[in-house]
């Protein structure tokens, strides 16, 4: 593991340095948004959004190659798809009392499938695995700027609207009775979630997004007594898992996303068993 430390500061390994900075910065929004996703119990919504992101990436690549729209890069496609998916699913879960699962499940699958079909119709080589499971080699200095901006947005919104988000997550009906526009804050939260997922896809990929969004808060919930504590612990755990995971994946030449997920998942399961044993 020591070699990782030297490798990070090796100017030839700029990608590794970026990956570590990205992991560190991203942990802030992952921990905070992950806490909201976990306490509001919208993990399946987050999953559906992440798969729709793939549809957006597919569309961007298709338009770039076939329509000559060079400005339509995959990041833009991903952001657009994520926001459209978040708002659509948010409205569905607010208004459709029945069949909510079916509608969200359909969007989940169709988002993914349409991405694949669009890529089928695009000439050239496409590394599917890097989108599905993440690839730190994809991270550029531009991504670092994006994630810094998102951190600022998530942090400021959470500080300013903390009490409203708290109300929406804990007891939306009561919060509505206090005159707060709960639908607006719910959709706002979903949009922040969507943007966070887009960044998360860069690190751990589409398939593993839900795990990194929900495992740190799940562990944090063993120890946190209040919402802000859960956020803080989640951020720290997320940082720990991404950095250790990146280090291990570099040392043993493993894929970074799956390494991070297996690491955090095992820690969670071990702690879960430990806490069950203590209680009984």
């Amino acid at each position: 593991m020591v070699d990782v430390f030297y490798a990070v500061f090796d100017p030839d390994n700029l990608f590794l340095k970026y990956a570590f900075i990205m992991g560190g910065l991203a942990s802030i929004c992952f921990g905070i948004i992950g806490t909201f996703v976990t306490t509001k119990r919208i993990g399946y919504l987050a999953g559906a959004i992440s798969h729709c992101v793939f549809g957006g990436i597919g569309l961007a690549i298709f338009l770039q190659a076939n329509m000559g729209l060079a400005w339509f890069d995959p990041m833009l496609g991903a952001v657009l798809a994520a926001i459209i998916a978040a708002v659509t699913m948010g409205l569905v879960s607010l208004h459709a009392q029945e069949r909510e699962d079916s509608i969200i499940g359909t969007l989940w699958a169709v988002g993914m499938a349409s991405g694949i079909l669009l890529i089928d119709k695009t000439p050239g080589y496409f590394n599917l695995a890097s989108y599905l499971f993440g690839d730190i080699l994809l991270i550029s200095s531009k991504d670092l700027l994006y994630v810094a901006c998102l951190d600022t947005l998530v942090l400021c919104s959470t500080i300013i609207f903390f009490n409203r988000f708290f109300g929406v997550c804990f007891d939306s009906e009561f919060t509505l009775l206090r005159g707060i526009n709960t639908s607006f804050f719910y959709l706002f939260l979903l949009i922040l979630t969507a943007l966070t997922i887009v960044l998360l896809v860069r690190i751990v990929g589409i398939v593993l997004v839900i795990a990194l969004l929900t495992i740190p808060p799940a562990i944090a919930s063993f120890y946190a007594k209040r919402l802000w504590q859960m956020m803080l612990y989640s951020v720290l755990l997320c940082l720990f898992f991404t950095w250790i995971g990146l280090g291990v994946s570099y040392s043993f030449s493993l894929s970074s996303g799956p390494t991070i997920i297996v690491l955090s998942g095992s820690v969670y399961l071990i702690l879960l068993i430990f806490h069950k044993l203590i209680r009984s």
Binding site: F170, R178, R226
Partner: protein, 257 residues
């Protein structure tokens, strides 16, 4: 506190010919109801009979298919600021990380304020104290017992000094002693506000309850009538009244045949 009342009556809540259907099933049919100031009423009726629906209509969380509802002579939505509401605690996420103070402060949420002020915290503390939970201010909500959770949720409903307190099954899943304590707290509150509560118990209500609103689309026959005062005394130590279903009802009186 506003006391504008169009007809000069002192009715706090007025329901006029209310019809409400859920998924093509009529829950409430032609409901007429007047609640006076200072009332302490228990809403009873079978499951699915429309008790919670009635509360939610008064709060304006759902709209009736037909009929009109007025609270303080205004629409329920506009009157919300003057109503305190305690939902069934079983509907809340029991793993949510929140202290008792965090939960009660929700009652001080306001459109105009982003953060809680010193006054908000003061009022929340007062409400927690009034419900006898002051030693639990910093305790996790999920560490409390059922009865304690109910109290915290009542404190949350109270801390904005409402004129009407609406409670959905405040005595569900609590033992008799806890229920009695809760009712003596409510009795004290009743001197300041109108109280409406949903009870899961069909036959008996606390002695403090002034009237019973029986909600059911159809007439129900209550076997409790065969019990006499002595038996009730034996079972409940005389702290309960028997429901007289000829007293006040949700629809056209009702005959138990």
């Amino acid at each position: 506190m506003q006391k504008k009342n169009g007809n000069g009556n002192d009715y706090k809540i007025k329901l006029n010919n209310i019809f409400f259907a859920y998924r093509n099933r009529n829950v409430l049919e032609n409901v007429n109801l007047l609640i006076e100031k200072g009332e302490f009423a228990s809403i009873v009726g079978p499951n699915g009979g429309g008790k919670t629906t009635l509360i939610k209509l008064i709060l304006g969380l759902i709209k009736p298919d037909k009929g009109s509802i007025q609270v303080f002579g205004k629409s329920p939505k506009k009157a919300r600021q003057h109503m305190g509401y305690m939902p069934q605690y079983a509907h809340l996420d029991m793993d949510f990380p929140a202290s008792v103070m965090d939960v009660v402060l929700m009652g001080r949420l306001k459109k105009s304020n982003l953060w809680f002020s010193k006054k908000d915290r003061f009022e929340a503390l007062n409400a927690i104290d009034e419900l006898g939970m002051i030693t639990y201010v910093n305790t996790g909500f999920n560490e409390l017992s059922g009865g304690q959770k109910q109290r915290v949720l009542i404190a949350r409903a109270l801390c904005n000094s409402p004129d009407i307190l609406l409670l959905d099954e405040p005595t569900a899943n609590v033992d008799h002693q806890t229920e009695e304590n809760l009712f003596s707290i409510l009795k004290n509150l009743n001197s300041k506000m109108t109280i409406l509560l949903v009870s899961h118990d069909l036959g008996f209500v606390s002695k403090y309850v002034k009237s019973v609103i029986c909600v059911n689309r159809q007439v129900v026959i209550h076997p409790t009538t065969i019990m006499n005062g002595a038996i009730i005394n034996d079972i409940y130590n005389g702290d309960l009244k028997m429901v007289r279903h000829d007293h006040r009802c949700s629809k056209e009186g009702h005959n138990h045949g």
